[in-house]
Symmetry: D2
Subunit: 331 residues, 4 copies
C-alpha cells in the first residue's frame, strides 16, 4: 500500500486508449491533428482564448513558462519551499540563464500578498540588486494547500502594482480545483501562465503550459525546441492531455485522490501539520510510529525527524486509504 508519491502512479485507461488511437503516423512535432485541438479545448476549460504547449515534465513547464517573463538579469519571487527552488536541480537557473529566485515565506507553502511585498520592499531599486520580474505560486501548494480566488486576487493586485508577471505551478491544479469547487478559471485566477499538470493525475508524460496571452506562446515555442522538448511524435502527448480533459477525467481523478487523502487525514486529526485540502497529508509522528505503520505495509516518506508525508494518487484504492487512516488513528 504505497503512499510515497503520486508522481509515479499508473496511467489512466482513458489515456492509454487515446495514445493507442494516435498510433498511426501523423505530421511530426506539434503539427498533428491532436495538438492542433489543444488551444480550443483549453479555451473551453478557461472560458477565454489561450495558447497551449505540451511538454513532458513539470520542470520543463515551469521553466519554459517563466522564461517568457523573466530576463536573465531578473528575478522570480517564489516560496522558500517551492518546487522550482527545492526540487528542480536549479532548472530555473538554466532556463532563465542565471535569473534568481527571490525567496518568500508563508504558511503551508503559500505566499501572501504581504509576504511577497516583504521580499519586494527589501530590494534596492538599483543595478546592484536583482530586480523582480515575476511571481510564481503553486496551486495546490507543496503542502497540499490551495489559494482561494480571494487570495489570488490580492496577489494579482500586488503584481499589477509592481509590474510583475504571475506564474502558477499547477502540478496538482486538478486537486485544487476539486477542493475549491470553483471553475478552473477562478482557481487559476489572474495568472499569465499556468503549468497545468496531468502526470500526477493519470497521464504518462504530458503537461500543458497554458498562456493566457497567446502571443507569448510563440516565443516559447522556440525555447521548447531549443530545450529538446519538442518531441517528434508529439501527438502522443497531445492525446494524453485530450484524454484527461475529455469527460472531465482530470476532475474525476483528482476527486478520487482528494477523497483518499481526506480518508487518511480523518484518521490523523490532531496530528496534521497542514490542512488536507488536496491529495497530500503531512502527519506529525515519531520514528517508532512510522516504523509501526511500515510494519503494517504502508509505504511513505519521512518528512523530517518528526513527521511523515502520505500522498494519494488518482488510482489509490479507497480501502488502502481508509486502512491507513485507521492505522494512524490507532497509533
Amino acid at each position: 500500500m504505497q503512499f510515497l508519491s503520486d508522481n509515479a502512479a499508473s496511467v489512466h485507461p482513458n489515456v492509454w486508449a487515446a495514445m493507442r488511437a494516435a498510433d498511426e503516423a501523423d505530421s511530426p512535432y506539434d503539427s498533428d491533428r491532436i495538438s492542433a485541438e489543444l488551444d480550443d479545448r483549453f479555451a473551453q476549460v478557461f472560458g477565454r482564448e489561450v495558447a497551449v504547449l505540451w511538454v513532458a515534465t513539470g520542470t520543463a513547464a515551469n521553466c519554459l513558462a517563466l522564461s517568457a517573463f523573466v530576463p536573465p538579469h531578473g528575478g522570480v519571487v517564489c516560496h522558500r519551499e517551492a518546487h522550482i527552488e527545492m526540487d528542480e536541480c536549479g532548472a530555473p537557473g538554466f532556463y532563465l540563464h542565471g535569473a534568481k529566485l527571490l525567496l518568500a515565506e508563508g504558511d503551508h507553502a503559500k505566499l501572501t500578498a504581504g509576504s511577497i511585498a516583504e521580499v519586494l520592499d527589501a530590494i534596492r531599486p538599483d543595478v546592484h540588486q536583482v530586480q523582480p520580474h515575476a511571481i510564481s505560486i503553486t496551486q495546490a501548494s507543496e503542502y497540499g494547500c490551495c489559494y482561494t480566488p480571494g487570495e489570488l486576487a490580492k496577489i494579482d493586485v500586488l503584481a499589477g502594482e509592481r509590474g510583475l508577471k504571475l506564474h502558477m505551478d499547477g502540478a496538482r491544479f486538478a486537486n485544487a480545483v476539486i477542493h475549491l469547487g470553483r471553475p478552473p478559471a477562478e482557481c487559476a485566477g489572474p495568472v499569465d501562465a499556468l503549468s497545468f499538470g496531468f502526470v500526477k493525475n493519470g497521464a504518462m508524460n504530458a503537461e500543458a503550459i497554458v498562456f493566457f496571452d497567446p502571443t507569448v506562446a510563440d516565443v516559447v515555442r522556440y525555447r521548447r525546441k531549443r530545450a529538446g522538448h519538442l518531441q517528434s511524435k508529439g501527438r502522443f502527448l497531445a492525446a494524453q492531455i485530450m484524454a484527461m480533459l475529455e469527460g472531465d477525467t482530470w476532475l474525476h481523478s483528482a476527486e478520487a485522490a482528494n477523497a483518499a487523502a481526506r480518508a487518511i487525514g480523518d484518521g490523523a486529526a490532531g496530528r496534521l501539520l497542514h490542512p488536507v485540502e488536496a491529495n497530500e497529508v503531512f502527519v506529525r509522528c515519531t520514528a517508532a510510529e512510522r516504523e509501526a505503520l511500515r510494519r503494517q505495509g504502508f509505504g511513505f516518506y519521512d518528512w523530517g525527524p518528526d513527521a511523515a508525508r502520505f500522498v494519494a494518487a488518482w488510482d489509490t484504492r479507497e480501502d488502502h486509504a481508509s486502512a491507513l487512516g485507521k492505522a494512524i488513528a490507532t497509533l
Copy 2:
C-alpha cells in the same frame, strides 16, 4: 504513401506491449526496475561497460552528451549540415552555455579526418578564438551515409592527437549497423558518447545516451534533471528501449527501413545524390517530376529546387516502397 520522414512513424507493437507491462506504479524517475537494467543491457550490446541515460528526444540526447565534454568557452567540430547545427534551434548553444559549433565540410554530410583537421588547423591557439573540445559525427549521416570502422578509426586518431572527445549522433544508428553489417561496437567505433536513437525506429519518445566512460554519466544526471528531462514515470522510457533491444527488434526494424529505401533507390539509379546506405533516398528530379509523383499519391519533402528526399521508416510497406521505386524509374 508517406515518405516524409521516419520521425513520426507509428510505434512498434513490442514497444506498446512493454509500456503496458510497465503500467503498475514503480519507483519514480530512473529508480524503477526497468531503468536499472539499462546499463547491463547496453553493456551486452557493446561488449563493454557503459552507463546509459534515457531522454525523450534526440536533441536532448545530443546536447546532454556534449555538455559532458565541452565547457561554455569551448567548441564542437561538426558537419555544416549536422542536425545540431541545422535543426535544433540552437539547442547546443543553450545546453553548452554559448559554446560554439565549428563547421567542417565533407561529402554526404560525413566528416573526414582531413576535413576536421582543416577546421582545427585554422584556429589560432590563443584566447581570442574558441578552442575545440569535441567532435560530433552522425551515424548514419544526415544524407543517410555511414562511417566505416576504418573511417572512424582515422577520426579517432585525430581526436586523440588533438585531445578532443568524440560524440556520435546516432538518431539512425540502427540503420547504420544494418548497412555496415558489423557489431554495434564497431559501428560506434571509438566514441566517448553515443546518442542511440530509437524514436525513428519504432519507439515513441525514448532515446538512450550511452557513455562509454560510465563516470561521465554521473555528471550528466544532474544536467538531465536540470533540463527538465528526468521524467517521473521514467519506467515508460526505459521500457521502450528495452523492448527495442529485446530480440533485436531495433535491428529488424532498421533492416526493414533500409530495405525499403533500397527499393526506392533501385528505381532512382542515375538520379541519386548520395549512396543509399541507410533509410533515406535523395533523388535529383524536377519540379514537374515531383508533381507527377505527388499526383500518384507519394508524400515527401522537396530538397531544394532540383531534388526530393524520401525517407523509409520501420513500418513502411514494401509495396509502397517498390511502387515508389517504379514510379521514379518511369519518370
Copy 3:
C-alpha cells in the same frame, strides 16, 4: 617602427590630463559628475537624443549592445570575418546566452543588403532553425573599409523589412568618419546601437555604447553590472571619453592614423588587398619581402602566407609611415 596594431598604442595626453583631473573622490559607479554628462555630450555628436554607457572593452560594448536586441534563442547576422565571430572567444555566445552568429559574405569584410538577404532567405521560418533578430556591421570593417551612407541606407531598408535591429561595431568608427567626411550621424546611419571605440584611438580603456533609443540603455545597465563591467571609479572611464570628444581630439587622432595609413598604402600601389580607407593596410607580399621589411626595423603581422597587415595608430610617426611606404615601394 611598430605597425602591429592600434590596440596597444600610447594614451593621448589629453586623456591623461582628464583622468588626473578626475582623481578626487566622487560618487561611485556611474553616478559621478562626468558620467552624468555623457548623454548630452553624445547627443551633440549625433544631433539627437541618445543614452550612453561606458565599458572597458570593445568586446563588452558589442556584446552588451547586442544583448539588448537578441534573445537567447535568436541569431545575429554578421560578416564571416567580423570581430565578434573571429576574435572574441565566443563572447556573444556568453552574453547572448547561446544565441547564434549567422555568417554572411561580402568583399572587404563589409556586408551588403544582398549578402544579408542571402543568409536570411536560407533560414526556414520554423522553430527548428535559429531566427535572426539583429544585424551587426563593422564601421570601419575588419579590412579597414567603410560603409557609405548609401550602403547603410540599403541595409536599413532590409532590416526594417525583416524586423531586425541594427548594431554597429565602431571600434574604428572615428577612422570611418574621417574617411567618409560626413557627420557622425550619417556614418552611423540608422543603427540602433553603436559600439563607439576610443581605445584604439587614444584612450586607455574606455569605450562607449551609444543607444539611439535611450530606453534600451536602462535594461543594459543591469547587464553591465552583472557582467562585472560597472567599475566603481567609473569617472575615469567617463573622463577618457569626454577628453576624446573635447575639441574633436577623436577626429584629429583618427585623421593622423588614416594619413599614416595612406602614406603606407601609397607605397603599396598594385599590392593592396583592400582599399586603404581607414588606418589599416593589407599588402600582398612574399615571405622574403616580409623578411626584408622586418630587417629594416618594421614590425607587423603576417596575414596568411602571402600578405602582411600594417596598422597605423593615432600616435604613429609620419616619418615612420612614409619610411614604411617607401620600403614597400622598393621591394
Copy 4:
C-alpha cells in the same frame, strides 16, 4: 568629510606614476612586460607558485574565480550577506551559467565551519537538489571582520572532507592582513583562489585573481576574454597592481585606512554593531543622530533605520577620522 565608501577614493600617487611609466606602446592584452611579472611578484607575496590574472572589477574577479570551480549545475556556499549574493546583480548566475548560491549564516558576515556544515547537511545528495562545489568567504567580511588563520583552517578541513573548493573575496584583503598581523599566505589560508582587491585600496581599476593551482588560470584566461575583460592595453592594469605591491604600498594604504576606522570606532564605543577590525565601522544611531552628524559635514550611508556605516579609505584624512570619532562620541 566623506565616509560613504572606499570604492571611489582617489588613486594613489605611486599608481599614477606607474601607469604613466607604462604609456609607451607594448604588446597587447596580457603579453606586455609588466603583466609578465605578475606571477613571480605574487609568488613572493605568498611564498609559493601562483598564477595571476588581472581584471577591472571585484565582481569580475569573484565570478571568474568561481567559474573555475563550479559547473553550471552546481552551487556555492556563501554568507547570506556576501557581496556576490547582495550586490552583484546576479553576476554569479551569469558567469556560472545558472549555478546557485547556497546561503549560510554567521555573525559579522563571517561563515563558520559549523554554519557551512548546516547548509551542506540540509542538501539531499540526489539529482533533484543543487549540489555544492565551492565555498566563498570574504576577507575582511562585509562587516569589516576578519577570519583568523585558525578559523580558516577549520573551514579548510570541512572543504576537504566535502570535496569543495575554497574561494576568498579579498576586496579588502589588505585591510585584513593589517588587522591580523600575519603574512598574506596565512591570511588567505588554504583557499584555491583569491580575489585580491586593489581598487578600494588605491588602485584605479585593477584587481588580481590569484590561483594557487596555476593550471586553473589557463582555463580562466578564456573565460576572461569571453567576458570582455581582457583589455588590450592591459599593461595599465598590471602597472597598477605592481605599483601597489611595490614597497608594500598596499599594506601602508590599508594601515592608514584601518587606523582611520579605529579612530572612528574609538568614538563609538558601546554603539558598535561589529568589531572594528578592518576599515568599516557600523554604528548604532538614530535618525536624529545621523542627521546631527550630517549637519556637521560627515557623509555616510544609513544602515537600516537604526544604524550607519562609515568607511575609511586609504586617503581618509586622520583629522577627518578623529573628528568623526569625536562627533559620534558626543552624540
